[in-house]
Symmetry: C2
Subunit: 233 residues, 2 copies
DNA sequence: GCCTAGATTTAGGCATGACTAAAACGCAAA
DNA sequence: TTTGCGTTTTAGTCATGCCTAAATCTAGGC
């Protein structure tokens, strides 16, 4: 304990990115990565839990910082630099989650919020030590790929479960770590990454699935949080 | 990765303490713990690297929060509640440092800044898991006692090396983790916690010390960062 | 007992990042 | 082509927490 405190001074990643800027970049990236859809300002506002005007202001700032391309009233796009920042945050987030599950005894449905805060607080150095200690994992506990140190990320060939055709035999590949209902439901049914299931049919927006331990019904929300690979076609 | 972000919601410790409030509380506590001296507003400003008016404003706020007792122009004193907050932060800080040194391969002179940021980002739950994982350590790598979960801290009988009498045979007990010069100097000379040394004499503000590997001269700054126990008297 | 030096507080600003209310835009249907 | 509605941006605030400059208090020297 002591006087002297020596604040600040943290990382080599995109200089002068505040916690908010980091969150915005990651959210923009995340929205397009998961869905493949164009990202509008209101999507972003909803994702971040802030108002539309807040997004408007922040996007202008990030545009000035060279992190997003944004022509007024058009969808948002990250620049190469912005994508780099986002991927750095994704890397941090997923390595931290992997570590919390493997070493700190957390469940896969408990790590998201903790990682959400830690990712802004650690140095690049810490992240690289973590990566080494964990043996350079390729995916996190939810099956999400972890970008390499030079920020390249493999995109596995997967589809959203809610868009799968009836009768398809699929393998569970990724679950959105921010949807605890999905994580808990799958854990209850002993369905982990790699599990083989068959899509029986859809009823309204629900998806009915046959799993080794019995059939189950997934709400649209849950089915939208799950990505699978098609076993045969 | 995903939309939904679910910010906030973190800890049971003194509700609505911002990062700044946590830092101020810890600094006030630290100044009086290490020195035993009364803490003035300017001491605090210097310790935190902020201006005196900033301290003035923040102290009023903390006074309203019931964390400090402060009559204008008088020295600062933490309330019981403020001391609890400070001790919770000290506990976090020291457990994080212990973990960084023991498990993440950091040197004892490298952990301070990293811990300084992490301590604001982790939950109580994380801290308790860490404590368990580390086997409930009593002191951190610098010899500083770690408060128990119910925030009791043992104060070992130690004195500042710069106030030790000539001729005293002493044992190295604690080194201020925020003074890297001291940490590096001692490490170079293979002097770790528990090492036995003899205080030869002082020259001006420097302290001359006889150690197993040879004599050395400690500047006042370094000698002020070291606490020792007197071996015999 | 006064007076000045130094510590402390008040006054007034700035940057960040959020908000609500209101204006401006753009697309689609009539 | 024009209207209308939902989206997006602008305008104007607020809370934090920092700053500098100026006023004020306290204490020590005479």
């Amino acid at each position: 304990m002591s006087p002297r405190t020596s604040h600040q001074g943290r990382s080599t990643r995109t200089s002068s990115a505040t916690t908010s800027v980091e969150d915005y970049a990651k959210a923009i990236y995340g929205l397009s990565e998961w869905d493949g859809t164009a990202v509008t300002a209101s999507d972003l506002a909803k994702a971040l839990g802030v108002s539309n005007p807040s997004v408007s202001t922040m996007v202008r700032k990030m545009s000035e910082l060279g992190l997003v391309d944004h022509r007024p009233y058009a969808p948002l796009r990250l620049t190469a630099e912005g994508r780099r920042l986002a991927l750095a945050m994704v890397r941090r987030h997923r390595l931290i989650e992997t570590w919390l599950v493997r070493e700190m005894g957390y469940g896969w449905d408990e790590v998201h919020d903790e990682a959400e805060r830690l990712e802004h607080a650690v140095t690049d150095r810490f992240v690289e030590r973590l990566d080494e200690r964990l043996g350079h994992p390729g995916v996190d506990p939810h099956g999400d790929p972890i970008p390499t140190p030079d920020l390249v990320m493999e995109h596995p060939q997967t589809v959203l479960l809610c868009r799968t055709e009836s009768g398809a035999r699929v393998r569970l590949e990724q679950v959105d770590d921010s949807v605890p209902e999905a994580l808990r439901l799958l854990e209850d049914r002993r369905l982990t990454i790699g599990a083989a299931v068959e899509v029986m049919r859809t009823e309204g927006r629900d998806v009915l699935v046959a799993a080794p331990d019995g059939d189950l019904r997934l709400s649209h929300e849950v089915a939208h949080a799950v990505r699978v690979s098609v076993a045969d076609r």
